[in-house]
């Protein structure tokens, strides 16, 4: 997994609430498994049906085409469990989404892939969005070492991330490695549980 320590880059505002995974990565009939998933990101908002760009969509405008951070409304990532919503953001170059809240499944999927879903209280989120909207250069820095966000005016905002998620992101540690270290305990649980709930194990 790609590590995350300090990311500095353009922050793009997309401040609708409840941006769902169908909006982030629509089902496109006929899309091949090998197609560029970065092009799928917000496809119905980014492109006309003929494939040409919709000029007023934020990610089609300079400087946001190069965005590394997305500032979104509450409950970002609601809807389906599709992990390609995360893959598409990453592939586009987004490393951090900042929102007042995230949908549960998206939040977990993001961490599994090295995308930081950063929750800010509403007041700070609004202030950050305003600062970004008014800045000549809407550049922010997300520092996971210090848990500190710096807005385009140089103002520092502290944030929190669950401790184990922070460690995993900084070290690029995949959760499966943590799980597989406990294999003996899984063995022991199943051996014990077969006695307690034998009907669960269909291979008897």
């Amino acid at each position: 997994m790609e590590t995350f320590t300090i990311v500095t880059g353009i922050a793009a505002p997309l401040l609708l609430p409840n941006i769902n995974t169908d909006a982030i990565t629509p089902m496109i009939a006929g899309r091949s498994l090998s197609a560029d998933i970065g092009k799928l990101l917000f496809a119905n908002w980014r492109y006309h049906p003929d494939g040409s760009e919709i000029a007023d969509f934020v990610l089609n405008q300079p400087p946001y085409r190069e965005a590394k951070v997305l500032i979104a409304g509450a409950n970002f990532g609601c809807g389906s469990s599709r992990e390609r919503a995360v893959w598409a953001l990453m592939r586009f170059g987004i490393r951090c989404v900042i929102a007042p809240s995230f949908a549960d499944i998206f939040y977990d999927n993001a961490f599994q892939n090295g995308l930081l879903p950063l929750v800010l209280p509403v007041a700070e989120h609004v202030a950050l969005a305003d600062a970004v909207a008014q800045a000549r250069e809407p550049v922010v820095t997300v520092d996971l070492d210090l848990c500190r966000l710096t807005d385009p005016d140089g103002r520092a905002i502290a944030f929190t991330v669950p401790a184990e998620r922070r460690v995993a992101l900084r070290e690029g540690l995949e959760e499966i490695q943590v799980i597989l270290r406990m294999e003996d305990e899984i063995d022991a649980f199943q051996a014990r549980d077969r006695g307690v709930r034998p009907w669960v194990y269909l291979d008897r």
Partner: protein, 470 residues
């Protein structure tokens, strides 16, 4: 503090392999369902790790999302889906996972077949790479949707690392009126409290109205937990669940059955158990519900006018409502009743079980699909299809002008050839009315199977109670 525990506590506690010092739990997963839409990269991940599927008999695969539902369909019928169906077949063959393939009489939507085959059992933990997995909560399984990375984790370890969610209980009081179904009740909860009210929570649905519901109706309630923001939704198993589970292909038998039933009877929240949040709804006050916008919370009762964005709680909500009105081509303050529909779709993991088709057929019987309406019934599984045909429901639908299809996700998900044409309006028994959900520029209204059937034969959105009385 008391020692009282909730239903969710009891199931959770029985599955704890280890609690980590950071508060996370390694939880045993009893059942894992795999489908064609979200599993390919997970199998690739297993290969990268050089791992096998740890407990093959606890893993089941099925094709549902990208398979054609047309009569006589095969895995080749929807060319864009071919690649993924072949990938799933190859992966299942290579790793030894049992697959309900296109031609299997047990094939169907993953959340329909898991209960139907006795794969989902009360008190089990069950996961699937699909957000509507909580459907299985209707029979008392603690079930939730996961992403592809976690699909790989479950295959490798038969366990997941997670934090225990907060718990909410929603108590359903009173009895619903004629024409009001479990779909209307869960939509009402979402409309009233919003699509993120359940975020961070696992929800137990309780109360006399839930107790009186058939198991399939409870599945519809649990199915839409995710539209309320909650990953997990569950109803305590009772006699009707035990009856439902008995005799299914993967259900326990003999002495194991007796043991299982004794365990299942312990699965209920203690009377003095505490929840982090409690909500209550009065079912007797709920009228048939229908969505007007592009979020499941954009909801009205069928006989009430559309809301005015100017009356929204805040500027953000006001803007979202204006956007939804523009997308849906509707006008604030107008009634929804009378708005013409182009498509009527009965299907999906929310409402494609036998009782859903029966409720729709009661409205359709002796009537015709209105001119200009494309109407589809897509049974949730091939077994539902066969049962419906044995009851003669297919004849009712076909005589009225509905298409009668094979099982799959169909028009819910735009990935199998069944789509709503651009700019057209659909009324659907599905769970999501997002922009472009049923096809590019499609417009979706969510409602119960009876309400969808009523619109199909009327040619426009209508109060189903008028047809039931008629």
């Amino acid at each position: 503090m008391t020692d009282a525990t909730t239903l969710i506590d009891k199931i959770w506690n029985a599955h704890v392999i280890r609690t980590l010092s950071d508060g996370r739990t390694l939880l045993h997963i009893d059942r894992h369902l795999i489908h064609d839409g979200s599993s390919r990269q997970a199998f690739d991940g297993l290969r990268t790790l050089d791992r096998k599927v740890r407990n093959l008999p606890l893993n089941f695969a099925v094709v549902d999302h990208i398979v054609s539902t047309l009569p006589g369909r095969t895995g080749e019928s929807h060319p864009p889906g071919r690649e993924r169906i072949h990938a799933l077949r190859d992966n299942c063959r290579q790793f030894g996972v049992g697959l309900f393939d296109v031609d299997s009489p047990r094939q169907g939507i993953v959340h329909v077949i898991a209960p139907e085959l006795g794969i989902a059992l009360p008190g089990t933990t069950l996961v699937c790479g699909d957000s509507h997995t909580a459907t299985n909560g209707g029979l008392g399984a603690l079930a939730w949707g996961i992403g592809t990375t976690e699909v790989m984790h479950v295959m490798a370890a038969q366990a997941l690392l997670l934090r225990k969610p907060k718990q909410m209980r929603i108590t359903f009081r009173g009895a619903p009126q004629e024409g009001v179904f479990s779909k209307d009740l869960i939509l009402h909860v979402i409309g009233r409290h919003g699509v993120s009210a359940g975020a961070g929570f696992a929800v137990e649905y309780a109360g006399e109205a839930i107790r009186r519901m058939a198991v399939e109706e409870r599945m519809t309630i649990c199915n839409m937990s995710i539209e309320f923001g909650a990953r997990m939704g569950i109803v305590a198993p009772d006699d009707s669940v035990i009856q439902y589970v008995a005799g299914r292909p993967f259900s326990p038998t003999g002495r194991l059955w007796e043991q299982a039933v004794a365990h299942w009877r312990t699965l209920a929240s203690d009377e003095d158990a505490c929840f982090d949040r409690e909500l209550e709804i009065d079912c007797s006050a709920v009228r048939p519900q229908i969505t007007w916008g592009t979020s499941p919370q954009d909801l009205v009762s069928i006989d009430e006018p559309l809301p005015d964005p100017a009356s929204a709680a805040d500027a953000e909500r006001c803007e979202a409502m204006r956007r939804a009105f523009a997308y849906m081509d509707l006008v604030p303050g107008c009634p929804l009743e009378g708005v013409p529909v182009d498509y009527a779709f009965i299907g999906s993991c929310t409402n494609s079980r036998l009782s859903d088709l029966e409720a729709a057929a009661r409205v359709v019987r002796g009537r015709k699909v209105a001119a200009g309406v494309t109407a589809l019934v897509v049974p949730g599984s091939m077994q539902v299809k066969a049962a419906a045909e044995a009851a003669g429901l297919d004849k009712v639908f076909v005589a009225a002008g509905f298409e009668w299809r094979n099982a799959g996700c169909s028009m819910c998900v735009t990935s199998n050839g069944d789509v709503v044409a651009p700019g057209k309006r659909a009324i659907s028994t599905t769970n999501r009315n997002f922009e472009h959900r049923q096809g590019p520029q499609s417009r979706t209204h969510l409602a119960s199977p009876a309400s969808v059937a009523a619109a199909a034969v009327s040619g426009h959105i209508v109060d189903v109670r008028k047809l039931l009385r008629g």
